[in-house]
Subunit: 362 residues, 4 copies
């Protein structure tokens, strides 16, 4: 067997530790931290530990098939790379490395409005995808429109509208580490792209928040009017909003607390998933991200109703340590472990993963 980038870092904890040494401190502060006291960051992990898996035996599992369909397109695993900004800060290969790795693995990847590489560069790096484009609404809708049109032209097959950042969360630890989300960090989609902003300091009895805080459900009609791409809302945690997304005929939603980076104290993604998936899962596709690290996590999330499961920080750790090749290796390893976990629960196909696979720990 040839040497591979992640060899020598056999556990995920190793990978995280080595990544911490590889990237500059300020970037590490960006990657790892959460909002406020990081309650939601920790809650994401804790939520998985409240469930146990129910192995099933003697099920003839010689052949385990991870293939799934996401919005009708076949992928090789019910996983996706969550949208994360500024990936060249983590490794020179940045989004292009990630895109190539995901393409090779036939796994869906989502790229951020705030990508270091331009969306066109990413598309050229991994033309066959599948790729989705994550949109941060711009102060002027015309600029959002430009981004959407560019994404459509470059072959992104869906729009992921982030709805949980009307204003940027309070990220003390990130700021303490010296990383600010503002024009100081180069992005690839053009100098005019405006990142989400913090609330301004107080100036009277009311706060006037940045322009994209103005978005309401009407924005979805505007988006439909400029693009025929499917639209996914990312950042739903309440049943009410999930129902409303269904009523607005969204193609999907990502149940997410934004990796614990937006509202400290927000519910863990996984805690919000079951009720939402049960209620709207037959109307639209329900995805989840937040706290997913291992194959067992993926299995729990699928059993609780997710159609696909997003990966965030581990992708960046792998990118930091091994570039795109590192990401490929992580995805390959995770898929292999997922196949193992399916075999151990007697599931040969993704469609066989159901609610009986998990139970609450007493």
């Amino acid at each position: 067997m040839t040497h591979t980038p992640l060899q020598g870092f056999p556990t995920l904890a190793d990978l995280e530790r080595v990544a911490a040494e590889r990237v500059p401190d300020r970037v590490w502060a960006y990657i790892q931290t959460g909002a406020g006291e990081e309650r939601s960051l920790e809650a994401n992990r804790a939520a998985f530990r409240r469930w146990s898996l129910r192995p099933r035996v003697l099920s003839d599992v010689t052949s385990v098939d991870l293939r799934s369909r996401i919005l009708g397109r076949e992928v090789d695993a019910p996983l996706f790379v969550a949208p994360m900004a500024y990936q060249r800060e983590v490794h020179p290969e940045g989004e292009e490395g990630v895109a190539r790795a995901a393409e090779d693995a036939r796994v869906l990847s989502i790229f951020s409005t705030l990508s270091s590489a331009s969306l066109e560069e990413i598309a050229r790096a991994a033309p066959s995808g599948p790729r989705w484009f994550q949109l941060y609404l711009q102060p002027e809708f015309a600029r959002s429109r430009e981004l959407v049109e560019r994404a459509e032209r470059s072959g992104y097959s869906a729009l992921v509208l982030t709805v949980d950042v009307p204003v940027l969360g309070v990220r003390d630890r990130q700021e303490a580490g010296g990383f600010a989300i503002d024009a100081s960090v180069p992005t690839g989609n053009g100098p005019g792209v405006v990142p989400p902003a913090r609330a301004p300091s107080f100036r009277g009895p009311t706060y006037e928040l940045p322009a994209n805080a103005a978005a309401n459900w009407g924005i979805l009609d505007d988006l439909r009017s400029i693009s025929r791409l499917p639209v996914i809302l990312k950042g739903i945690l309440s049943l009410e909003d999930a129902r409303r997304a269904a009523r607005h005929s969204m193609e999907g939603i990502v149940v997410s607390n934004h990796g614990g980076r937006q509202l400290d104290g927000a519910a863990a993604s996984l805690d919000a998933l079951p009720a939402i998936a049960e209620e709207v899962g037959s109307t639209l596709e329900v995805y989840v991200d937040g706290g997913v690290r291992r194959a067992s996590d993926v299995l729990i999330a699928l059993a609780l109703g997710a159609k696909a499961v997003g990966l965030g920080r581990p992708i960046l750790w792998a990118l930091a340590v091994g570039g795109g090749e590192g990401v490929r290796e992580y995805l390959s390893s995770l898929s292999r472990d997922l196949a193992t976990a399916m075999a151990l629960t007697g599931r040969r196909q993704i469609a066989e993963i159901d609610r009986t696979l998990v139970q609450r720990i007493p």
Copy 2:
């Protein structure tokens, strides 16, 4: 942006750490410790971690308004500075610095009978308020009456009668740190002001406790007879006492375990809040303090029925580090974060904060 006192201490943990270095050890022992084993001190914090917030999206939150009314008076945020004694021990600016900061922020502040500055000095420092006066009953009612009359003359707009200190709590750690609540600590309201006292050592089959332990509900009639100011009872944790406060036509109550400093093992303030607010919240105003640190805490407390939320130790940390200006900066930062948290839960006004904003963590 100009240099501000708290700059360089970006997280609350930083602030606490630096404050610990700035104040003498014996004062730190006074500020930080709780009664007995500090179960209630810790319980106050733990109680918040049992709730999660439910973000709401696409709600058009460009303008977020924190204004509230407390006893009919408009303030710029549903917060208050809890009454805390001896503030000049923490920083030379003491209560006057705090009063100015709260006035600037148009936030209610409450000052203790045991303030370092006299209540008149505080009033002069921040004449427009809003300010309330916290009363420790004096051994002779005539002395309580003098204090009340002075407060009324100096423009304090309500009386906060502390009812959870018939006798001083058992504060091992404070005493171990060398801080005694007695005549050795200078106070501003006159040499005749008597602080609450510990139970005497045992001298027979019964304990004769200090005079103000004699107070019963009749004291409220006495107070009404000498002042037309609204009366708030501070230190209620049981539904029975809350109901009784309502029957005695109190204007408000503060659900509080006295920062975990009185009865070790007393319920966390937040745990006591929901039932009390539901039962008497339409009859009188229900406030809460204890364990509030961040905007998410404030939001949880408001959602569980508090009309305003009190801040204790963080105010002293900010005072220790930056004087009155530090307090101003802390209040400003907290308000900004509260506006952010409201935006992230789709609330544009305080009145929109309701019980659906929170849920128990499973």
Copy 3:
């Protein structure tokens, strides 16, 4: 105020720490350890932390009276010193120091069959008591009878029959510390007194346990036949046994897991208390020990139905540090803190302590 033995050790943790330095390691291993993995030892403490106290206000608590009656005799607090063996190993004053301290405090004390001082010496040291005698059944009933008769002659006013040591628990840590409960440790009640023994090493398909493992409920008739003293069973944790004790007309029971020293994994004493007290508390007196450290613990136990609350290890810590005078000071301090806690919950008399004083922490 004159110098007192415990001065300078203001918190219970200080007292414990200093005691650890004062007594030989092997004795410390005897005092502190529990059976097996010490699950029950820790469970005793954890059980208290599942309850919170409900303060009550404005109740006129100038005079707080701790007096109670235990088996009809008035004592100055609803406390008792639990029976603990070998007290001269801890301090030269041993049981005599403890007895004098309890007598001065008018608190019930119970002395062990395995006391370092003879029961007569203890009686001479504290003639007015109240004192009870704890009985370990002897291999021959005649020897048990001798002990009972001696206790009766020396003015012990009740017999406490320990029923949870048919065989000695598995005390790995005590043994690892070099302390064995056997003839190597001198006792005062005569060379013929036999301490409980470990199960023998395996010698075939069945274990023949020491003679006193033979005791069944019939032993109570035997005891009644030789003494008119009230009989209390110590070491009850099940409702079935509590009921049976009531049917056998016992005067009282001590709900106890033997300080976590007998059956590792046995329920915490406090967890077993409420159901037992509710069921048999009107028929006989129900006491509890295990994990009681502070006044709040005492209050919780009383609220859950205990008629009196036993103190174990803290008595030995105080004895180690200050001899009998240390115990007196600890009892005085605990009583004072109990009076404080009663005042803070609006109780003026022990009889006013009821179930509404506590609630489960959510």
Copy 4:
């Protein structure tokens, strides 16, 4: 008393610590680690801590009898040595030492397909047993048949078919420690014996797992056709599989998560036990292993319905420290402690252990 191998290591923690020093690091990594993040490894221990024991008193327990019947054969304790591979890696005496120790203690032992000693050598070392043979299905059934026939010829009295390893679990920490389960580790049952294998790296949209992943319930008919030995399925955690085992007339099942080494996140063995034992316990014998360390654990498992309780890692620790004699001493000590625990819960015979012996910790 003569010197014994484990003397000087009085607690189990000592034994574990010393064992860690005695065996090579790579072997220690094999013994101690679990799959993935070791959630199931830890869950096994945590599950026991959710139950407490209910002592019973005055039950005349002079004679405590641990004898039980397992599949009709009398043994001296309801324990068994779980099958564990490669025991000569731990100590030169390996399986033969363990077999002799178990035989002396008249305790059932189970030996692995992957034993270091051949099954014939083990049988010669401990001819009277009782011994069972654990079978890993071989790629070709003919090889499985050979193993079964050899076991039958050598006097193994039952077959234990491991059903929770269709593919080897993901054992990061074991691999990080340098231990691979493959042909590099010598085994005694012949060069042709194939250990379970990891899932292959990804090679397209489906994973083709090793041959023994093909096993389904039909394999049981195959086994019956080649042997008249009773068959026990090891590795059942779901009620559905337990029922199915009963319908296939299995003689027993081992409720087990494979020591937390197979599916990370799998339910704790003990958590799965009660429902399974209640449902099928009258049809077949239900055993359990996983996390059992002390007599209290054994008692809890028996009370929750296990007919016998398996020991894993502690056996290897004892083997590492004292060879076969160490195992004998551990078994003897555990039996003695079990007799003690039975006495303290008022049980004289194994048959008296019932569900009333335990309760959930509140």
